[in-house]
């Protein structure tokens, strides 16, 4: 059981992410990678279609992450949050890179 004082892991809420890439740019260890593309959304009655960023891929490399929380602080849409869970171990270096599904939000801290 994770003690309440442990830092937990970092979770992503993909629906809240707008691919602004602030977390990617601010991360001191460059452990976050993000890929997105633009889509045009036409709405009935609107004069012209609007562009939306669609998140394709998001990953945090927990082998580089130092759990400083700068990404959580800086996200303007609160798409990144602390999650009370033990750090997932791995038998391979690549297993420490957690992609979108693995980062999906679970029980939150506090």
């Amino acid at each position: 059981m994770t003690p309440p004082s442990a830092h937990g892991v970092i979770a992503l809420i993909p629906e809240a992410c707008t691919s602004c890439m602030l977390c990617v740019r601010e991360c001191p260890t460059w452990c976050i990678s993000l890929a997105s593309h633009l889509e045009e959304v036409t709405e009935p009655g609107a004069r012209r279609p609007r562009s939306v960023s669609v998140l394709d891929a998001f990953a945090i490399d927990f082998g580089l992450c130092m759990f400083c929380g700068i990404c959580v602080d800086v996200c303007p849409f609160d798409a990144l949050q602390w999650r009370q869970a033990a750090d997932a171990g791995s038998t391979a270096r690549a297993g420490l890179v957690h992609a979108k599904d693995a980062l999906a939000s679970g029980p939150d801290r506090d």
């Binding site: 691919s19 890439m21 990617v24 740019r25 976050i32 990678s33 997105s36 593309h37």
Partner: protein, 152 residues
């Protein structure tokens, strides 16, 4: 850490000694900060009876500052580390030998010292397709254009 109180460089040891006499007899940490052109020194003093903290900071004069070792014996290794990694000279330090790292051409933690791995690793924060319309600078923060591989 309490907000740092600025101290003029010429009063560094005197102010630290005054705090010591007021009861802040334990030096928690002494370190230095590279302000890109200026080197600041920060000392956190603790009163072991009241557990109060007091943080002092000063700006070194061209990388030189008085050593606090005559007041706080614990400053010895902290100052050796700051001297080695940030190039600060502590006047009056009894034993200014390198402490931490193998010898190198230049202080490792100065912002002007290049990090070859950072220069060659692609930054994930550079443009992506959606970002092409954002026109953000595609240079990672902290990488200076003055970095070169050769020592100066």
């Amino acid at each position: 850490m309490s907000p740092p109180a600025p101290v003029p460089a010429e009063r560094w040891r005197a102010v630290a000694a005054a705090r010591h006499d007021e009861g802040f007899t334990y030096l928690d940490v002494l370190t230095a900060v590279d302000r890109l052109g200026d080197l600041d020194v920060v000392a956190v003093l603790v009163n072991p009876d009241t557990h109060e903290e007091c943080t002092l900071t000063t700006r070194s004069s061209q990388g030189r500052i008085e050593s606090l070792v005559p007041v706080f014996r614990g400053a010895d290794w902290y100052e050796r580390e700051a001297a080695e990694l940030l190039g600060i000279e502590f006047d009056g330090h009894p034993d200014p030998r390198p402490l931490v790292a193998p010898a190198s051409d230049r202080p490792e933690l100065l912002k002007t010292t290049p990090l070859p791995a950072r220069q060659t690793t692609p930054w994930p924060g550079a443009e992506d397709e959606a970002g092409a319309r954002r026109r953000r600078a595609a240079v990672a923060p902290g990488i200076l254009t003055t970095w070169t591989q050769e020592p100066q």
